[in-house]
Symmetry: C2
Subunit: 199 residues, 2 copies
């Protein structure tokens, strides 16, 4: 499968594309390949690019008093956009790091505007993608209010079981809002419970 | 000032409108007036409307084991949209309640589509509004990861001092992720510190 096909399949699910529209996207898309550990954005930089993950994982984190606080992970078929920095051209307050070898579609403002000018349908698709992103973002934020850290971890296990395998414990802990030792205890409780249930 | 002027002023800041475009918006807009305590959406309902606050305050909350968990407050010049329910037509997992007498612009899918068909510029504006919403939503979510409850409360005092006066303590407490008695302690610490600084 050609790499760009993944993006076209994703758009097709949102709004069916004609062959020439799909071709227009394929022709305009830039693909970037990154190594584990590469930084896409640093605190203080102004984001000039946005990304769609074809393969790999990008972590968003804040550096608070010398400690990394992970606020999000983006994997296959997710958008990575630091909106405040990218849209309002403000210095970023966080980092974006590839935590695996990662392949991304790389967008920028110019390419985005060119697509909208070429066909207004792309702007409609963009609006629908944004609605999808907000929907996910609202659900994520709500979980910080409604769920305990253990519930957030269980939700992650259920909704994105692969991620739990792919990401170091200290990053997962910070993402669900606890210290690594608390996450170890949470994991042990869950394992003990599942053993008890099986017996 | 005519009520709809507030919405037009808001759009004008995003992208300048011609007189006829402003008129088209004014002509199509529906205004709703609600009483303190009115529910705009209940858990289990499918959201058919979205809102822009002209005056008042809307609270979003979840009912978890008989306890209200407040996840957001929306005041003047903010959009109230339960995206997952409104866009994907899924039953809402939360409530939207007016916690003051409130005046809202009331949108629905049909009115939105009609506007886009009438003038594609409205779709561009909509896209830019969505980018602004995501930007705010990302910042809000990040604060659950980077900040302590006390820091979240201090941020609220700074960014939206009026809200702290307008909202009951137990709702604010749940919003910053603590029990009401913890918020009382946080408030006392802040008052004590400011007294010490002044002496």
């Amino acid at each position: 499968m050609v790499l760009t096909d993944k993006l076209i399949t994703y758009f097709n699910k949102i709004m069916p594309l004609t062959d020439s529209e799909a071709q227009a996207i394929a022709d305009s898309v830039c693909i970037g390949k990154y190594k584990n550990g590469d930084l896409l954005l640093k605190e203080g930089q102004i984001a000039s690019e946005c990304y769609f993950v074809l393969k790999g994982c990008v972590r968003q984190y804040y550096m608070i008093d010398g400690e990394e606080k992970t606020s999000n992970f983006y994997t296959e078929e997710q958008w990575v956009v630091s909106f405040t920095s990218f849209i309002q051209q403000q210095p970023a307050d966080h980092y974006l790091e590839c935590i695996e070898d990662t392949i991304l579609v790389v967008g920028n403002e110019q390419r985005e505007e060119d697509m909208y000018r070429a066909n207004s349908k792309f702007e409609t698709i963009s609006r629908m993608v944004l609605e999808k992103i907000i929907s996910e973002q609202q659900a994520l934020q709500a979980r910080y209010v409604t769920d305990t850290p253990e519930q957030r971890y269980l939700h992650l296990l259920q909704s994105n079981p692969q991620l739990v395998q792919r990401v170091p414990l200290y990053q997962l802990a910070s993402y669900i809002g606890v210290k690594p030792e608390s996450l170890s205890r949470i994991r042990k409780r869950i394992t003990d419970r599942s053993r008890t249930t099986k017996v």
